[in-house]
Structures are given as C-alpha cells and as structure tokens.
Symmetry: C2
Subunit: 431 residues, 2 copies
C-alpha cells in the first residue's frame, strides 16, 4: 500500500523533500511507502537537482490539487498566493496537506483549519517553524499536558546570524547585513527577517498551539533589529547580557484564560540563560510550563535538509494515522481543535525590565532628574551608570526592574522634555 503525494514547488525545500523520498534507504521503513506522483513547478526549463520520470513534472498546479489519485499535497512554494488557494483547493478535494508555509498559516490558518476540519483533512506544518527542530508536534501532542506559561524563541536564523556576527566582530548592522546578503544568509530585500515579521508569523503559530487558541497576527507587537549597534552590544556584554531577537508568547497572570503578551523584539538575554548561547543560523524554542519546568529545543532553523526533514516527518505521521485509523474521526492530536481567538494584551500592559541609553549634557544633576522622572511613574531602577563623555555629551545607561511598559513610556516622554537630555539612542527590553 503506497501513498501518492503531489509536490508543489521544487525550490530549496521541495528539492530537499524529493531527495529524502527518492533516497529512502536507511530511513524509517514507512518512507518507502511514499511515492511522488506529480510535481508542480512554475517553469519546466529550469535545471533541477533531482530527476523525475517523463510526465511527473507539470506547470499545472491546479491539476495536482484536484487529482483524485493524489492522497497528500505537499506545499513548498511559499508566499501567500497561489499557496493559499492551492491549499484550500486540495482540502476541498479531500486531500491532506503538508506545508512549510508560515506566512500562509499565520495569516489564513483560521480559514484553512476550518476548511480542513469540515473536510476531514489534516493540515501539517512542522516545517513552518524551526526547520527540522521537532517543535510543532511536541507542542500539539506532548507538552499540552502541561499548563504552558511561556514560549520564547530564537526563530529567525538570518537575524540571529547578523546579531551573532555583530557580537563577535563588534561590527555594525549595515556592514554585516550587506555581507550576509553577499553570502546568501539574507535576502536582497531583508525586511521580512530584519524587521521581525517572519519571527512574528512563527510565534503566532507556536502560541496558537501552546495556548490552544487562534492568534490575530496584527496583535503581535513587532520590532526588528535595524537599530541595534555595536555600542549597545558592548554595553550589554559589560552588564552580562547578549542581544537576541526574541519572539515571545507569554500568559500574563495565573488565571487560565488570562490574556497573552505576544511580541517580537531585540532583547537583552542574561549570558547564563540557555537562549544566550544559541548562535549563528541556529534556532531554539524555550518552553515553560507546569509541571514540566523549562525545556529547550535547538537546531538549524532553515535550509533544505532540516526543513525537508520536517516535511517528511509530517508525511510519516499522516501515513501512520491513515494506516491505523478508520478515518471516521479525525485524530485529536493531529487536527486543529480550537476555534476561539486568544485575548492579547496591549504592549502597554507588558511588565518587563528595560535597558535605556541616554545622551545627555555633561552637567551635574542629570542622573537625579532621570531618577525623579522614573520614580514619579513607579519605574524602579536596577542600575544607572554614567559612562563616557564624548563631544561634550555624557552617556548614561539605565536598567530598570520589572515595570509596566505603559508607565515606563510615560516616564520617557517626560524625560524627553528635559533640557539636559540630548537624545535616547536605545531602548531595549531585558529578559
């Protein structure tokens, strides 16, 4: 008994997937039961790293998602359209879907899972977050026995690569981004990565699994890493931190349906925290719950091999269920069982520590004034250090205790009006 798949896309992930499936020896025996029936591409003329028999490759993607022969559609074309429509068509034609497309799932997950549940189809997405790291299935299936409190991830390899190089080379963002683009670690248009949008897609997906509700992507607060510079990395280092782009989903408070804090931003991470040592293109997802405590899942977050491993692991799960189940009821751990939206707290409600760097006039009393403005807003300070004087400006670095972000912003608004304040080059949150 074999399972026929239709593969949409033959780029990095599609090629990697085909390479595993066409070369099944030494892998789980079930891999041999998967047969690539059709492959849909945009152009037939492109040179390919994998060969298929005559007639397997086609440019007619609709013919694949509607083909009654095909059991499972594997979507690796990426982007929003035609990916979304093809996934929905495949579901409407009774096919199960495996996708690596975080953008489509983060935006249209609601529509897609509603359609899948109605059609009795599975939509699998292990490859959408964290490359080959097994994180979607553990969150959906194993870790859910816990009351999960927080999911904190380094889920974008490009920004972690850039920040790691800025850290080790003491270089500035623009130079290292340019070099990363030259080396193929960053796209020509880097905004999806460096502005945090890709990480926001991914944490929305992880949060919906961890907290059992759908997430409106627009509710995820998002700051990228363009403003990070060598000065702040050096100060962070002195204070015992590294700067990482974190994607965080956290239950605020102890109540069962307490709202979530959902955010992506550069963060000062204590050097002793397990996430601090995740470097280069590696990803890691740090999960906290009761009673499991803390766990972390680590691996390469992108690339043909890791992502294809995740795609084929989804195929394996599907086949396992299809072989042993009677399909009268969807497997409760593989289907999407929630259809409510999670409540998300506005960023002003966040309680966190902050790091702020001020440039001020070099005159007595400035620290006192800063301290008064913060104190008036109940912002308690952990440390306040005046460092160098350059061009007649003093540099003051403040780290707060946990404060409500709204209060902190009000204090900063007041501080900005002080004569002695020249500018506030950096405001970063601290884990």
């Amino acid at each position: 008994m074999g399972f026929k798949i239709g593969l949409l896309g033959l780029g990095t992930v599609g090629t990697g997937t085909a390479q595993i499936l066409l070369n099944a020896q030494g892998r789980h025996p079930l891999v041999q039961e998967i047969e690539i029936d059709r492959v849909g591409v945009r152009s037939l003329d492109k040179p390919r790293e994998v060969e298929f028999p005559e007639g397997v490759i086609t440019t007619d993607l609709e013919a694949i998602v509607t083909d009654p022969q095909i059991d499972i559609v594997v979507e690796t074309i990426g982007g929003l359209e035609p990916a979304r429509s093809l996934i929905l068509q495949a579901i409407a034609h009774g096919k199960h879907v495996v996708t690596a497309n975080k953008a489509v799932i983060a935006r249209y997950g609601d529509e897609i899972f509603t359609a899948a549940n109605a059609a009795g189809a599975y939509v699998m997405l292990e490859a959408a977050v964290g490359g080959g790291i097994p994180v979607i299935k553990p969150l959906k299936q194993s870790l859910g026995v816990n009351r999960l409190q927080a999911v904190t991830g380094i889920v974008n390899g490009t920004t972690n690569y850039i920040l790691t190089r800025m850290q080790t080379e003491k270089g500035d963002f623009a130079d290292i981004l340019a070099d990363a683009q030259r080396l193929g670690y960053a796209e020509a248009d880097p905004s999806a990565d460096v502005d945090g949008l890709d990480a926001a897609d991914k944490i929305a997906i992880l949060a919906s699994l961890a907290f059992g509700g759908r997430i409106k992507l627009a509710d995820v607060y998002c700051e990228g890493i363009r403003q990070i510079n060598a000065t702040d990395i050096a100060y962070a280092d002195k204070l015992g931190f590294v700067i990482k782009l974190l994607a965080i989903a956290k239950r605020i408070g102890e109540v069962e349906n307490a709202p979530l804090s959902m955010r992506v931003h550069p963060t000062l991470v204590p050097q002793t925290h397990p996430l601090a040592s995740i470097n280069g293109v590696y990803n890691a997802i740090f999960i906290e719950g009761e009673p499991i405590g803390q766990i972390m899942l680590y691996g390469r977050g992108a690339g043909a091999g890791p992502t294809a491993s995740a795609v084929v692991s989804d195929l394996l799960h599907l086949i396992g269920v299809l072989k042993s189940g009677d399909r009268s009821e969807l497997h409760p751990l593989l289907s999407c069982s929630h259809d409510d939206y999670c409540a998300i707290a506005p960023i002003e409600e966040l309680v966190t520590r902050f790091y702020v760097r001020f440039l001020t006039q070099d005159r007595p009393g400035v620290i006192g004034k800063l301290g008064t403005c913060f104190g008036d807003r109940h912002v308690s300070l952990e440390s306040i250090v005046q460092t160098d004087v350059k061009d007649n400006l003093a540099e003051i670095v403040v780290v707060t205790h946990d404060v409500r972000e709204g209060n902190f912003r009000q204090a900063l608004d007041e501080i900005r009006t002080l004569d002695a304040i020249h500018s506030i080059p950096s405001i970063l949150r601290v884990l």
Copy 2:
C-alpha cells in the same frame, strides 16, 4: 467516552502523574478523559500527597493489571521486579502500558515488545529517558526520516550536578557527592548514577530507537565519574574543555548497517559545543543525522513534574490513537517495529581523541620517549605539555588526535613499562 487507567506506584512519579490527571483544567482537553480507576501501592498506611475515593488504592497490584475494566496500566514503581512481571501480565490481559522504567526496558525490552506486538498492545516510555524532554517520540516518529549518525546525551542528572559543582567550586568528587547525598540529589547508594549504569540503560533505549534495532546492554561500554578530580577539571578548562558524563551511540562508518559504538564515559567536551553549557540537574540529547544536521533537546531530566509530564503525554498519545483508530493494525509509529539486534563494535575499534595525564620522573628525554611510544602505535599527538613539578615528579598532559582506541591502549601499555613513568592518574576521551 473515558479511559480508565490503573496506576502502579505512588512515589515521586506516580504522585506527579496523579496530580496532573486530577487537576486537568488548563491542560489539553483530552486529559479530562483519563480516569484513575485503581492505584496500586505497597502499603496503605503511608501518608499521601493526593487523595483518592475509598477503594481506589489497593496493595493488590495483580488485581489491577488483570482488571478487565482497566484500559491502560501506568507503571511507576521502578526496579526490575515486580515491575517486569506486572508489565507482562498487563499486556497479556490486553492492556496498553505506559512506563517510566528505563531499567526494565533496557534489560527486558525484547521480551516486553515481543509480547506487546503479539497482543496488539502499545508500550510507551517517554518518561524513561530525559524526564519531560520530548525525545522518545521525536526519535521514533519524526527524526527517523533522517539517516541518524549519532545520539550523544547528558542523560543522568546526578552526575551532571556533581560535575557542574566540581567545575564551579573546584572541589573534589567525594566531598561533592557527600553533599549531593545530603541534599537529596544523589542516592545513599550512588553507584547506578556515578558508575554510569543509569546512563547506559538510557543510551541503550535511545540507540534502539535511533538505529532501529535492539541493543544488548552488556555491549554498552561503561565508565563512571569516580576517578574525576579537580586537577583534570582544571587542565580541561585551560585546554578549552569541560568534563561531562556522556552517553554516546554512534554509527561507525557510512554503510547502512555499519556497527555502532555504544559507550558511557566522562568526556572532555569543547567549551563551544552545545552540550558544554548543560549544567546542574539538566539533561540534553544531541542528535546528528542526514539531512537534518544537528539538533539538541534540553530540559530537567528527572523529578516529579517533568517525568509526570512525559507519562501523561504518553497517555495522551495512546488515547489519540485509540479514539481515531480501528485497532485492526497497530499504529506503525507507536509500536516497536524492529526485532533484530544492532551490531556493536568493541571499544578497541573506537576512533576518538584522548586526554592523558602522566606523572613522570623530572628528567630530560621523557617527552621524547612518550612521543616515540605513541608514534610506534600510530597515535598522533595534538599537544603535549609539561606543567608543574611537585615532589620531584613532573606532570605531563597529552591530547591526541583521533586514534584507534586499541592502538592507544597498546601504546599506554608500553609507556607503563618505562622507568621514567611514575603513574598515569587520568585517561579520558575527548569529544
């Protein structure tokens, strides 16, 4: 539709499991469908942290495993007997089994899985290795699409706690062991932990899943940490290493059925390796395969909460399959599909780097003689450093390149016969 479980044992893990099940709110909705029908304990008189209705607790464990009402038996009593017999009886009576018992599985897995396959029963063991870390299911289900090359684990929390404290406090083994015993981190009889036996059980289980074959526990080479001392930890630190008790299963060579190297021993781990920063009672499992590359799974390796999380995740999986399947065929990703034994290479065939510390007479020419003995056996050296002279004895530390362990041992045998050699206090492998 509820599932009735019989819980054997109400110690740390059993109590933790009951606490999750009796307090299901805020967890995966399926947890509410699990009902603790009977609980088997040794004595009714002990005070308990969880309360059950009259008649649930019994000392008649056989009555539980043979009770036709019970769907799933959860074994948390540990040890070899009566655990083994109760598991086999439960299977014979058509029950599925969830166990946290690595010792039984590592020794009697063959017998237990053969019986389970014949009876159409599942035996689940996520809790047997790595506490709450999801590692058994990912290895069995997701990572198997890769050609796995190596599984390297810090899988014993007690020894990692002791080694971490030796590292940070520069203390000696015996003192820190005594303190660990006082604090409850080590047993009164610590040998299962400090001699590496517990880690050997666990790597045998991980290897059988990663490499799809059964493992004879007697074939796992095993060295504990009793001989580790502050001197070697300090030298390792200077050379850029930390010392960890690693459990390693590795395919030797590229051929599909090439033999495995299976071993547990203290190891010098480069400070930049992800395993180097796993400290205290934490566990981590580092997995390498094609095409996924490297991944690592990290968390607390023991304790009521993490282990109970793993037990209940197994229950969730079982229920998912039982609800959606027709039970005519065992789910291929949850059952044990291999019944051959893996070939294991003798330790002499291992190719690794070594660290050796010699105490020698303080006279010229000793290093030359050492170099000659090693050279004669094709043992190539990475570094050879003479350090302190104490009590007229010089200390020489050698790190080799990758060498065949058999050759290395022959060279050492010859070196031991040299007049100038006083003793060889430490021989350690290097990752």
